[in-house]
Symmetry: C3
Subunit: 183 residues, 3 copies
Amino acid sequence: MEALKTTSPSPASASGLELKNPEPLEENKRLSIIAFSGDFDKLVAAFTLASGAAAVGYEVSVFFTFWGLNVIRKAKGRKPIGKGVLARFFNFLQGGSRKVPLSRLNFGGLSPRLMTHMMKKRNVATLPELVDASIALGVNLYACEMSMNILGTEHTDFIPEVREVIGVATFLRYSSGGERVFI
Amino acid sequence: MEALKTTSPSPASASGLELKNPEPLEENKRLSIIAFSGDFDKLVAAFTLASGAAAVGYEVSVFFTFWGLNVIRKAKGRKPIGKGVLARFFNFLQGGSRKVPLSRLNFGGLSPRLMTHMMKKRNVATLPELVDASIALGVNLYACEMSMNILGTEHTDFIPEVREVIGVATFLRYSSGGERVFI
Amino acid sequence: MEALKTTSPSPASASGLELKNPEPLEENKRLSIIAFSGDFDKLVAAFTLASGAAAVGYEVSVFFTFWGLNVIRKAKGRKPIGKGVLARFFNFLQGGSRKVPLSRLNFGGLSPRLMTHMMKKRNVATLPELVDASIALGVNLYACEMSMNILGTEHTDFIPEVREVIGVATFLRYSSGGERVFI
């Protein structure tokens, strides 16, 4: 609380040059995000947090599972990837990173485009830019083995920056000692 | 595990008078909630956690982003605040803290009112009461700079209890050494 | 940390032969999941994380609140449990663990069944199997007092494996010193 007040004047924020760290509590510099959601707005939140944390020196990992896998697919539009009719159907419906819906007030996919328009107008990084920034800043991307089993997809269906396909035990080991956030 | 068993008999719970703390693990008394959702039920969960933690001695911060900003707007009803036509449109649609929907079974806004009715009947604090309790207990409220940029809103559009408008780096610094929960 | 090294050789979970542990950070072996969501896919994620963590030596607790309570109800189908007309109505609508919807592309409840079909085909544990595995692995199940007050339900409405009905303060005490994840 007192620390909070003394650090407030710092104009660090977005870019985050932090020359001193007056926090009395022990610093935890590992952050792992479970990116479960495939919603546009939640993905923007996930990648803003990921890139922002990486920019100020955190070791950041994003573990994509379920709908979240959609944003790291090579195929950015609708494509029936995967093995099995049902899997191909679900993968087609999800539609790739260009088709991510807003979690509310989606209006049939219009809103994410309007939102992106507003982000550009305000000079806020768009979702693809946030993904690129996260990769450039060294954020580790992992894909969830179990979800991929269910949806019949393979490592090669995803962008090459996805380092590894891992299960829960490995995720827990990679993220141990740090913060875990489910988005 | 063993500690868990020994502490179980304590009748603390809801009210939370905890005279001793028999936990062997290191206590972490800082909790930061990223309030992303604008859903009635998730906001009730966020403020129940925030006020409950503050009541038992935690330093609690709530960082409002995206839809979550809706609940700390000065204008409690629908109002087209913000700069730019699209921003005003989205801000109008969100509708302020009196219009937050249930995440499921919303029935056009009827359910949050029914839910509030049930909460009053059972003597459970309603959402506005939980917000007030959180503020009274010293929970720090922060608004997300980036979301406000996108939606064209300003510090003055929010209730005066919002201490500061901050970015990701500042949020990470303020919440460092503690738990971070995304709701 | 030391505990981690000695427990690592365990041949646990999904991928899991972990012969060495090169992690420098301090290990945190307590994980608490706030199971707020009643969605099929999020519950699969919650129980996959819970059972996976328990399998590699974590002390795991799941705290069911709001819609999440639905999955631990004794009545697996639609049943108007609870006190009060409104409570009975909401409890009926939620429908028990056999009626949990997918958070997206639910198609009137068809998708969870298709998803379960795909999970069986790929030899991935289904939701009831994940719940059973979590219980068998010693995951502690708790129910949220406040949500139960609102919905007029009692301890006896839930499966007997639910150890205790607790409030926020008790949840914070039980989960202190560990990771807390909101799903």
